[in-house]
Point group: C2
């Protein structure tokens, strides 16, 4: 079982998205896609006269912004991906966490910052997801969780992908693939050809100490190693164009514990 | 098995929608909801600078408008209904026609009017819908069909509801309920208390000849009688507030052939 996460950089580029979906369609076996948001939510909000506030890369989600991300992530982006996958003979089904109660969360408690309608994950219904997979349906998740009280919550797609992978891994072997804008984790952030083929916690610690892995890569990799520690068989970090090669071990960075 | 259709008048009124969903949640047995659009698509389009053109009550759907209805019907309206139903202990799953390929259509051919990305229905996957129902999932359909070539099509919700009901009726008895803004079909359009309890084709013909049933009711009733002729056990036309009573035969108009 393979779970892939694509982010905004792929969503925002129709040609890149089409290339990725072609790769995705060709992957054999059971598969799941989790997609992020992209600039279209911010652009749509702006056109609707709703101001976007980001704090450390996270979107502050008031009621008006929750409506926008429900429209854009749960509607436009999700359904366009589902329709495109259907044309590639993938029997996709678009889901938010509220659909069939697959991803439950609670509203993030307010500490220093009030993120608004943002969800911290509580529970994944692996049984329900497996039930879809057994029927040869391919779940396509929008980054929205269910608050268990009639509402949706904006949710980080990386976190959602790893939570789903961890829960499914209790039942069957799972490979988790994060697609992003680089060819893998770089030993030198300024050299796109310095991809680290295999990353262990020890090598990761060395690169962190040396400063060659830094900034946004740290939460992403912490999250990825946590998934491995919690039962996910393999985590791959690669470019969306390289998915097929990366799954075959010929591209990207493979994390191992 | 009961299939209910609600229209824009319920969607546009949060209190009416909440009342309806409470009624819906209490209906026993397998059930399906098909929802229409409502003014929110037109309002959202306007804010986004997209002009809405309606011809005989039908929305002309160019690419920009298709994106709006995909966002609003497939995202905002559909997912808000799903989340609300979950809080009422209904395990709802939101669907467009592209999800699991449940509703296939083709783009309406251009005759006098080019409706754009509007779908005329071809095929319903009753087997897939029954598969959801057997898992105690309650399908909630947005009025969007799949064009079998990677795209979505804006689709009339009344037609979608009757097509799904007819297809399911080949396998099990189906009751189709149209909720609208009146208490039923009226013998006198100016008297809201003149509800016709039971409407047969003969009585319908008399009212049409007399002009007491006219305008928008005629396509709605033609569509409803066609569903009966094609195997649906019962069609009820009632107010969204009266669903429980109408299903029990105590309110609304019941059509019989």
């Amino acid at each position: 079982m393979i779970l892939l996460k694509i982010g905004g950089n792929v969503i925002d580029d129709p040609a890149a998205l089409a290339r990725f979906l072609n790769h995705f369609a060709q992957l054999p076996g059971h598969k799941i896609l989790v997609h992020g948001g992209g600039k279209i939510a911010t652009q749509t909000a702006k056109k609707l006269g709703i101001h976007t506030t980001m704090v450390e890369g996270r979107r502050i989600t008031d009621q008006a912004m929750l409506d926008v991300v429900t429209m854009v992530y749960g509607g436009l982006v999700n359904k366009q991906i589902v329709a495109k996958l259907q044309s590639l003979n993938v029997n996709a089904i678009g889901l938010t966490g509220a659909d069939a109660r697959v991803v439950l969360a609670h509203k993030r408690p307010v500490k220093d910052i009030d993120y608004g309608f943002v969800g911290d994950l509580d529970e994944i219904s692996a049984g329900q997801i497996q039930f879809f997979l057994r029927q040869n349906l391919t779940p396509v998740f929008a980054p929205l969780s269910y608050d268990n009280a009639g509402g949706l919550l904006n949710t980080n797609a990386d976190t959602m992908a790893s939570a789903i992978a961890v829960d499914l891994a209790r039942h069957e072997p799972v490979t988790l693939v994060y697609c992003f804008e680089k060819r893998g984790v770089l030993a030198n952030p300024n050299d796109d050809n310095s991809v680290i083929a295999e990353l262990t916690p020890a090598v990761y610690a060395e690169h962190k100490a040396a400063g060659s892995i830094n900034k946004g890569m740290i939460p992403k990799l912490d999250n990825a190693f946590r998934a491995l520690e919690n039962g996910v068989s393999k985590v791959i970090i690669c470019h969306a164009d390289d998915v097929s090669a990366a799954v075959a071990g010929q591209s990207g960075t493979t994390l191992r514990v």
